[in-house]
């Protein structure tokens, strides 16, 4: 990608992060940590990778995205809003009683959401089903799914991986957000999913491990995924949970907690200065 394209993606990722802060602050709840760690992935998928049409969110020909780690809905919603699926101004209504922005993604209420998720381990199986259907009907739609590293502790993830390889789903690309933290602490301490790359390879995936916040690496990985034939592709992204907001970075406590007013101000100020820096580049 060109440097201006990369700069634009970085600016968008920063705005996606701002939306995460706006929405979780507005909700006084929600999951900022894992939304921020995947901001570049959300951005790249919705602004570069996927074949989609915000004006026609149910278009048959679109690529599909299943947020298997559904609790990071603030990240998905923020990217969808930035992409024009619904107004950015609605983000602070997240989790409100009269809002369509449910705490976890709801495909019947939120434009652009391809599958209702939230119960961990199920989204990847749904993505496998979508990919099987597109293969069966000879369609070229691609399917993407984002999982958490803690989510790998769900046995169903491995049932889905087995099926993805068995049915040679080269139209499926999963992304595992390896930020290393889950609610109760470090994934290595709670119930280690490691070695993640080795496990996915053993289950029949082509696997690439990259820096979650490097758009060049992200582009290369997704391009390699599209070129891979006869097997599903997995991108393990080494990320910083809470990335972009200093006091949230690498803190398990920010998995599922909203910033208060003072914390909101600080987070937005930090992100605004990051944005100004990017725009001045």
């Amino acid at each position: 990608m060109t440097s201006s394209e990369k700069k634009q993606l970085q600016i968008t990722a920063c705005k996606v992060r701002m939306g995460v802060i706006e929405s979780t602050h507005g909700a006084k709840a929600g999951h900022p940590g894992g939304s921020l760690s995947a901001a570049e992935i959300f951005t790249y998928l919705y602004f570069k990778e996927m074949n989609i049409d915000p004006a026609n969110p149910k278009w048959d020909g679109r690529d599909r995205f299943v947020l298997s780690k559904g609790h990071t809905a603030p990240g998905l919603y923020s990217a969808l809003a930035q992409r024009g699926f619904f107004p950015v101004e609605d983000l602070p209504t997240l989790r409100h009683i009269d809002s369509y922005l449910q705490g976890h993604p709801n495909m019947t209420m939120v434009p652009g959401v391809d599958m209702s998720t939230g119960s961990l381990g199920q989204g990847i199986s749904v993505a496998v089903g979508m990919a099987m259907a597109f293969k069966h009907t000879g369609k070229s739609n691609r399917v993407y799914s984002l999982l958490g590293d803690g989510e790998l502790e769900e046995g169903q993830v491995w049932e889905a991986c087995m099926a993805a390889a068995h049915y040679k789903l080269d139209n499926l690309c999963i992304v595992v957000d390896n930020n290393g933290l889950q609610i109760d602490g470090s994934v290595a301490d709670v119930m280690s999913p490691y070695p993640i790359v080795g496990k996915l390879e053993a289950f029949g995936f082509e696997v690439l491990q990259i820096d979650a916040h490097d758009f060049d690496a992200i582009e290369e990985a997704f391009n390699q995924a599209k070129k891979t034939e006869g097997k599903p592709f997995a991108i393990v992204i080494k990320s910083v949970k809470g990335k972009g907001v200093s006091y949230m970075e690498n803190e398990a406590g920010w998995h599922g907690k909203a910033p208060n007013d003072a914390e909101y101000e600080q987070a937005m100020n930090e992100l605004k200065s990051q944005l100004a820096e990017l725009e001045a580049m």
């Binding site: 599909r64 749904v126 979508m130 009907t137 049915y167």
Partner: protein, 313 residues
């Protein structure tokens, strides 16, 4: 009564899928290593490219079905009732029920008539589990004709449907021209003394009981209530009004199934004494199906006994 043809409704399921598959290219069948037992193996032979074995992984299978349905296919996900409704309950609830996706669940081997496999495989809780999911349609057909009609009707519904079939061959009492309608009970015999509302293999037992009761001077109304949800509340109330007493019969726990659905309607709309025949909050065990049905009181003899006691005769 002349000897009747007997067919297990799981066979009806497999046969109906083949017929439907010929009409609709978007119909696909999923299995979890039980195609031989769920009788979808027959579909696989005719349409191998439209049959997907998901291996022994029912949770994954239900979500695969959900994903397929969002891409324009109409999947029939098949397994034993125990695993379809039981093991995969939360997947059915969250990935199929919550987004109201167009997935059909073909659950065979319902109830204790599974027989020798014993309690681990005798699912008597599936109606209760599926009833608790908003928007789920639940059908338990009474014979081969109704089972095949129910599979076709399920395809036509835009939303999730749970179909419960049995392993045991049971009498076919409907004519081929039977007009099955989802959500509508079928009056098999009119009566005024007691209304017997049944489904599944208990329906034929209820018919026999109705005839025996007639001979004993009790005029029983017999209703086949294949659709448990949405329940034909109008007919339930009408039958209760007419008879003043209701007996429910099902191959399911008396907790959470047809009996409780009927009680819920009547307690709110027309309080009426009800006796529930079903599995009395206990597990089954191994044995021949017929002997188990006898032992658990799921026979016409037991229905007659309960009805006589209920009517004070």
């Amino acid at each position: 009564m002349a000897e009747m043809k007997k067919i297990a409704t799981r066979d009806s399921y497999g046969n109906a899928l083949i017929e439907l598959g010929k009409e609709h290219d978007n119909l696909v069948v999923l299995d979890a290593d039980l195609a031989a037992a769920t009788k979808t193996g027959a579909f696989k032979k005719v349409f191998p490219e439209r049959h997907f074995d998901c291996g022994i992984a029912e949770a994954n299978m239900m979500c695969i079905a959900a994903g397929m349905s969002t891409a324009g296919l109409v999947p029939f996900a098949s397994s034993f009732a125990m695993f379809a409704a039981g093991r995969a309950f939360e997947q059915v609830r969250n990935s199929i029920g919550y987004p109201h996706l167009n997935v059909k669940i073909g659950a065979t081997h319902g109830g204790i008539s599974v027989g020798e496999d014993g309690a681990s495989h005798q699912c008597c809780e599936d109606f209760a589990l599926m009833r608790s999911i908003p928007g789920m349609t639940i059908i338990c057909p009474a014979d081969d004709v109704e089972a095949r009609a129910a599979v076709k009707a399920a395809y036509e519904i835009d939303g999730p449907v749970y179909l419960r079939f049995g392993r045991l061959a049971i009498p076919v009492f409907h004519n081929e021209d039977f007009d099955f309608q989802v959500g509508k009970g079928e009056i098999l015999k009119d009566g005024t003394d007691v209304a017997i509302i049944a489904n599944g293999l208990l329906t034929y037992e209820a018919i026999k009981a109705g005839e025996e009761l007639e001979a004993a001077g009790i005029n029983a109304m017999v209703i086949n209530m294949a659709t448990i949800k949405p329940l034909d509340e109008e007919l339930v109330v009408e039958a209760a009004k007419k008879c003043g007493k209701v007996i429910t019969c099902e191959e399911h726990s008396i907790i959470g199934g047809l009996g409780e659905a009927v009680c819920s309607v009547l307690s709110e709309k027309l309080p009426t004494p009800v006796r529930r025949i079903g599995v009395n909050d206990e597990f089954g065990h191994s044995g021949p199906a017929a002997a188990l049905l006898q032992q658990f009181g799921l026979t016409s003899d037991h229905i007659v006994e309960v009805a006589k006691d209920f009517c004070g005769k």
